[in-house]
Amino acid sequence: MPEITYVAVDGTACSVEVPLGTSVMRGAVFNDIDGIVAQCGGNAQCATCHVYVDETSLDALEQAQPEEEHMLGFTAADRLPNSRLSCQLKVTGALDGLIVHLPERQY
């Protein structure tokens, strides 16, 4: 299973194995990692699963779809060039080693 690392605002890193086919959002929720709210359950409706993708991991990702792009305009913490919605990041083999940083707030 691909390993994904979630880095909290205070720098604490937590690496977990996340099943293929789920999402980076689910990986956090399943593993009880704070900092991702995912109020709408992963339907790109609420922008509360915002993450900053580590520079070293950006190449592994596919471009955001238009819906995700629009939703990223409504995040609670600042939107940066490496902002993504973790519910839209499907876990594939290419994401093994992905590092994401959690924002200071989601709403």
């Binding site: 009880d32 359950g41 609670a76």
Partner: protein, 424 residues
């Protein structure tokens, strides 16, 4: 400072109901640093889970049960949230205890009723036949999914969100589908005629039969008690080996009523979500609360409403009281079409259409020149802008909306300095 004005920090909080609202109450209490005991009582065996996928991906078998969980089991342990399985049979508001069916009891400093709602049933002969379903719980969805796997003729009674979402899933799995609706159009109570018309055409274009203005007289079955046909009020019989009843829900108010609390269509609460008993709140689908603009008591059935209510109650119990003023929003996915609604359409007298195509548009609904709601079909940008527009202090006049080249997102962006808070 009088005792009544002091922020209350109850020594223990008991939450009845572990749906989205009940779960969020417990979660938000801990986020706010509430240190006391929290008991979350669930009538279901499963860990608290989300419901929207039950009529969508979960029904189609694209997600397993653990993917519905709001949080894993360790979450509750780590935060000392006592998740209790059981059915609450009574509340004693004087002794401040709840009693469970197994004879156990829990004392509370504050009680939060998040009891939700149950599906309405159809009062016709045959409603208890095998193959006749409702859809509210994960257990319902499991039974429905099993039925769907072998069904050939599905009949859906009621063209609301649940009925239409199921109809889309059933059609996509190759079933022949007929939707029977008593009113003259689908989604009659929730969306404008224009948006309803779009969904009627969508379902028909996918091969679904949609019969509006049609009542159901009876369900018929074979000797083994399995449903075989739906008899309409006009005497026609539709073959059916699966029937979904999607005719709305009834709030679970019995406990509140028995405890002497005011109950109408929902448990009556004020803008702080408090019942007449200052030690009992009610939230989510079961709570009738005053609407910001009209003051009318209304129940709302949505994830956003339950979560918003929960956060407000948790904030109050940890010393930050406020009034509930969030504007509602909802969404529904049917086939590959997404409908998103911000606000609440209630007797609109003007509408403005945005968008240049039949597959993607937004309808702005006004009453007396005030924007009530925005319905967006495949226009997520409009929806997000609309959610901002619904916040207190934001505004849009009918003349502005009708202006040449008007765009919701530009309107919101141009005035963004004036809006507090964020969508989310």
């Amino acid at each position: 400072m009088t005792a009544a004005a002091r922020p209350t920090r109850p020594e223990s909080v008991v939450v009845v109901g572990a749906g989205q609202g009940g779960f969020q109450t417990a979660a938000s209490l801990r986020e706010h640093g509430y240190p006391g005991p929290i008991t979350l009582i669930s009538a279901e065996d499963a860990l608290p889970y989300e419901r929207p996928p039950l009529s969508k991906t979960y029904l189609m078998g694209e997600a397993d049960e653990s993917q519905l969980w709001l949080r894993p089991a360790t979450y509750y342990v780590r935060r000392s949230i006592d998740l209790v399985r059981g059915t609450v049979t009574g509340i004693d508001p004087v002794a401040r205890t709840v009693r469970l069916a197994d004879g156990s009891g829990y004392g509370y400093g504050h009680l939060v009723l998040a009891t939700g709602a149950r599906p309405r049933t159809l009062g016709v002969p045959g409603a208890g036949l095998r193959g006749v379903h409702v859809l509210r719980t994960a257990e319902d969805a499991v039974a429905l999914r099993a039925s769907l796997a072998s069904a050939r003729h599905a009949v859906v009674v009621g063209a609301g969100f649940i009925g239409l979402e199921f109809a889309a899933a059933a059609r996509e799995s190759g079933c022949e589908v007929t939707v029977v609706e008593a009113l003259d159009r689908p989604l009659a109570r929730t969306v404008s005629a224009r948006t309803a018309g779009h969904f009627a055409r969508l379902h028909r274009s996918k091969g679904t039969r949609l019969l509006c203005g049609q009542g159901v007289a009876a369900l018929h079955g074979d000797r083994r008690g399995a449903v075989t046909a739906v008899e309409l009020a006009d005497g026609r019989r539709l073959p059916a080996d699966l029937v979904l009843i999607g005719v709305g829900v009834t709030p679970r108010t019995e406990l509140a009523a028995a405890a002497g609390l005011a109950v109408g269509d929902g448990i009556t609460v004020d803008s702080r979500l408090l019942t007449g008993d200052s030690h009992i709140s009610a939230i989510g689908d079961c709570a009738a609360f005053p609407q910001v603009r009209s003051g009318d008591l209304r129940r709302l059935e949505s994830v956003q409403n339950a979560v918003g209510h929960a956060r407000l109650v948790a904030a109050r119990l940890t010393g930050a009281p406020g009034s509930y003023e969030e504007a509602p929003w909802f969404w529904s996915d049917q086939f590959s079409t997404t409908l998103q609604i911000a606000g609440h359409a209630d007797g609109h007298d003007e509408e403005v259409l945005l968008g240049d195509g039949p597959r993607a548009f937004s309808v702005l609904l006004f009453r007396g020149g005030t924007l009530l709601a925005v319905e967006s079909v495949n226009r997520p940008v409009d929806h997000l802008a609309a959610r901002r527009l619904m916040q207190p202090g934001a505004g849009l006049t009918l003349d502005e909306a009708r202006g040449e080249g008007f765009s919701l997102q530009d309107h919101v962006a141009n005035r963004s300095g004036g809006y507090a808070g964020s969508v989310g």
